[in-house]
Every structure is written in C-alpha cells, then in structure tokens.
C-alpha cells in the first residue's frame, strides 16, 4: 500500500514538472508577441524568427551538452529514460526520502522543466538587440549561450558546484529560488554585452542630444505577450518549488502562485502610476514592463513573503524599471523593449530583497552571487559577440536597417498587404 502512495507521489511530482515546464514553454510565445509588438512593422518577421529559433536552439544545445555541464547528466541526455530497474530504483529512492522528503520524479521531466528556463534566459537578449542585429549572428550566439555560458553559471548556483574551485555560492548564503539572477539577470548581462558592441538604432539618439521615439507597431500583441508571460510565470516560479505531492509542498506551491500574481499586479500599477506622474499620461508599454519587472523581482523568492510584501516588492520593481529605462536612454544605450531594465536591473533587485523575507540568505551572499553571475556571463558574452563582430559582423548595413530587417534578413514582410511599408513612415 505504501508503494502505491509512493508511485502516486512520483506520478504527481513528475506531472507537475511537465505542466510547469509547458507553462514556461508558453513564455516563448509571450516573448515573441511582446517583442513583436514593440518593434516596427518592417522588423517584425525577423524578431519572430529569432524568438522561435532561439527556443529551438536552446532545447537542442541543452540536450547536447548544456544539461550535462549544468547537472552532470549524460552527453546527448544519455540514459535519461531510465534503465530496466527504473520502478524499483524510484520506489527505493522514495522510501529513503520519505513522504515529506525530497521529490522523486522522472529524469526526463527534470530535463523538460530545466530546458525551458534556458530558453527564457536566452530570449531576454533578443529584445535588446532588436531591429539592427544580423539574424544569424544572434543565432550563433544563442548556440554558445545555451550550450555553455548559461549551463556553467547554472552549475555554480542550482547545482552547487564550486566556482572554478574557489568558492561555493550556496555556502556563502546565496539563494535564487526560480532565477531572478540565474536566468533573468544572466540574460540581461548577455544582452548588455551585445548592445554595447552593436550600437543604438539609427535615429534613436540625435546629434543634438535628444532621444528619438521609435514606437512599436502593434500594441495589442505587446499586451497579449505580457499576459502570456504573466501566466507562464506561474509555471516558472511554481515549478521551482520542485515538489507538489505532500501538504507542505502543495501549500508552498499555492503561495508561490499567489505571490507571483500579486507581484506582477503591484509592478504594473506602480509603473502605470509613475508613468502618469513622470510623462503626464499612463504609458501602456511602461505598464507592461512594470508587470514583468514585478514578476522578475519576486522570482528570487516567491514563497516566503506575505502577499502584501510580495505586492510591494513587485511595485518596487515597477518603479525601478521606469527609472531604469529612462536612465539607459540617458547614457545612450538603446534597448528597444526595456529588456536590460526589466530582467537585469530588476533581476538584481530581486536577488537583493530575498534576505528581507528569508533569514537563511545573506545580503553578502546575494551580492557575491550576483557579481559572479554578471561577471561570468557579461565577459564571456563580450568575447563571443566580439568574435562574431570581428569575423562576420553583427550589425546589418545602414541601408538594410532603413529598409527593415524583415526584407534584408528574412526575405518577407510581416504585414505585406499594408502597403507603403514602414521605411518611409518611421522616424529613422
């Protein structure tokens, strides 16, 4: 009879990973729509191609070697399906952990849950470099980021490996529940490295010092994308509890869903209000970024805060993201969708507020962890982008940028029936 309960627990915990993984996969649709809506019509096909291709590349590279680097799995996921003694081994492991212990689940479900996080980290980059990067340079970078750069820092954090034999982050009091730093800030670090080498869009920063507005072509898509990401995030944070099949875990999962949702709400409202105060009108795109900022902030620790505190953390993200977006424009770093602000700046905030509600985590541990992640990802990304730039070039030609990368890089327009295409209409 006990074995039946263990089998049921295994099934539920496995199922939970799979469903949460599917929700996080859905975030790829969220990013695609969000970014697709915030770029100009003439650059839409390209960003959609980037998004769906990077998701696929992430899945493949993580399968080939990423999972192996991060979690000591087999090359090409060798052995993932389990051997002939799968059921006995699982029952033995369940008995050893006990009903309230660590979860026991199918290895394939663990991979499935992990791989979608890799794709999320990589997709942060695509928004920041939009409208002027060569498609294939981006995809080449994705191969390295998802096969090597991300798995390395993932191994030092979630897998507890020592950082080049120097220190173990977990021992220093570092904790990042679902990846504010490990996933979001990491993605933003790679994005920042790319953007610095890429340069701003033509017409964004004028000679007289003013900042040009380059409005997105499809705000319904951007709003839809945000809501899709919001829903997908329930899987992102919820699944990171890593277990469902006992009362304490189920309770934790419920709190995580609740806090994730309320942090997003806090972020959106705060950003909307701040935009109203700063710009005179509520800017929808800022509000959308605010919701995502709230989600990123709570991601580092969604289970310990009270709902009110989670909302306030989210609101802090919403406020910070608006200032950050304006700041990056001021220092002439062009980020078309605010990716570096939402995922990088707010990812760091997310890490740093964890000790406020989780006494096992220290500020110094968080800071060291953040620095480790940032330095590793930023420097290695800079090297990879640098090589790509030197060998192939990463920026499209000026002519192609004006005409739109849809035609130049993809050979097809996203909205071909809306004639007199963007090149004559937009600001650049």
């Amino acid at each position: 009879m006990e074995n039946n309960i263990f089998e049921l627990q295994y099934a539920i915990d496995t199922f939970y990973f799979l469903i949460c993984g599917a929700l996080v996969m859905w975030m790829a649709a969220g990013f695609s729509m969000l970014e697709g809506g915030l770029v100009r019509a003439k650059n839409t096909t390209e960003i959609l191609t980037k998004n769906i291709a990077l998701y696929s590349i992430s899945c493949i590279m993580y399968m080939v070697c990423g999972y192996m680097i991060m979690y000591d799995g087999g090359l090409f996921l060798n052995g993932i399906a389990g051997g002939d003694t799968l059921v006995q081994d699982a029952l033995a492991a369940s008995a050893e952990s006990g009903f309230d212990g660590g979860s026991v689940y199918a290895d394939a479900s663990d991979f499935f849950f992990q791989v979608v996080f890799v794709a999320t980290a990589m997709s942060v980059v695509s928004g920041a470099v939009a409208e002027r990067m060569k498609l294939w340079a981006f995809l080449a970078f994705a191969v390295v980021m998802t096969g090597f750069i991300y798995p390395m820092e993932g191994s030092w954090t979630w897998n507890g490996d020592s950082v080049f034999g120097l220190f173990v982050l977990g021992d220093l009091g570092f904790s990042d529940f679902a990846g504010s730093g490990i996933v979001h800030m990491a993605g933003a670090s790679a994005a920042l490295a790319g953007v610095l080498l890429l340069g701003p869009r033509k017409g964004k920063f004028r000679a007289d010092g003013s900042v040009g507005a380059i409005p997105g072509a499809n705000l319904p898509l951007a709003a839809l994308g945000t809501l899709i990401l919001w829903m997908g995030w329930f899987g992102f944070n919820g699944g990171s509890v890593l277990k469902l099949g006992d009362i304490a875990s189920a309770n934790s999962v419920a709190m995580v869903f609740l806090n994730t949702n309320t942090a997003a709400a806090g972020g959106l409202v705060a950003a909307l209000l701040l935009a109203r105060v700063m710009f005179g009108k509520g800017d929808l795109t800022m509000a959308l970024n605010g919701a995502l900022a709230g989600l990123v902030v709570i991601t580092a620790e969604p289970s310990t805060p009270t709902p009110l505190v989670a909302t306030l953390f989210g609101a802090a993200g919403g406020v910070l993201v608006v200032f950050s977006i304006v700041f990056f424009d001021k220092i002439k770093i062009d980020d078309p969708v605010g990716a570096i602000s939402v995922h990088g700046v707010c990812g760091l905030l997310g890490l740093m507020v964890v000790p406020l509600t989780n006494s096992d985590v220290t500020f110094s541990g968080q800071a060291i962890g953040a620095l480790t992640i940032f330095v590793w990802v930023f420097v290695t990304s800079l090297i990879v982008w640098g090589i790509l730039k030197a060998v192939f070039g990463i920026r499209v030609s000026e002519e192609e940028e004006v005409e739109g990368v849809d035609l130049g890089e993809c050979g097809m327009e996203a909205y071909p029936e809306f004639t007199s295409g963007g090149s004559r209409r937009s600001g650049a």
Binding site: S210, A213, F279
Partner: protein
C-alpha cells in the same frame, strides 16, 4: 473637365460621399493621407522620449467632374465636410486634361 481634390477629416467621409451622390456624382477615389495646415503640432512621449505629432490623419477624395456640375459638387463637399473646428480641410480644383475609361476606351466626358 476638372479634378476636385478634397482633404477632409476621416469621420466625414460617409457624409461627403452621400452628399456627392445626391448631386449626381457617380465615382470617387479615396486615399488615406496625413497632413497639417496652419494649426501647430503638439508633442507626445513614448517611453519618456519626445516625439512631435504634427501630421494628422486625413482622407483625400478625388472626383473628376465636368464644368457645369463643378459648383454643385464643391458646395456639397464643403457643406458635408464642415464642422467649424480647426482641421476641416481644403478643396482644390485643377484642370483635368483627359480622362479614359479603361474597360471601354471611352474618353472625355463619356469616361466620367
């Protein structure tokens, strides 16, 4: 023959079309355009960056018409498109040298 080009506010299109129909005009061409007149533009903010809105959406109607019907057509457009507020638009009348019906090859007033 004359060619009337009238730039009007977009929401007035249906009214103008009906008014032209009532004075016997059988065909018009409509394009979506942008424009401004003597009123100054204003600025908006997109993610904190200023941009100038001086081009406003308008609709341009073109009608090819014969001399005797010109006055009635211009009057119809004028009345129907009028709101009294700034940005009502303008009507231009130019000389039309030739008109050809593509299907039949008719020219001149038989093409109108």
């Amino acid at each position: 023959m004359k060619l009337i080009a009238a730039v009007i506010k977009p929401f007035k299109l249906d009214e103008v079309r009906e008014a032209l129909s009532e004075v016997g005009v059988q065909g018009i061409t409509v394009t979506e355009v942008k424009g401004f007149g003597r009123q100054k533009g204003h600025t908006e903010l997109y993610r904190g960056a200023e941009y100038v809105v001086d081009f406003l959406p308008k609709v341009k109607i073109e009608v090819a018409i014969e001399e005797p019907e010109l006055e009635a057509a211009v009057e119809a457009i004028s009345k129907a498109a009028h709101t009294g507020k700034i940005g009502d638009g303008k009507i231009f009348v130019t000389e039309l040298e030739q008109a050809i019906r593509i299907r039949t090859g008719e020219t001149g007033k038989d093409a109108l």
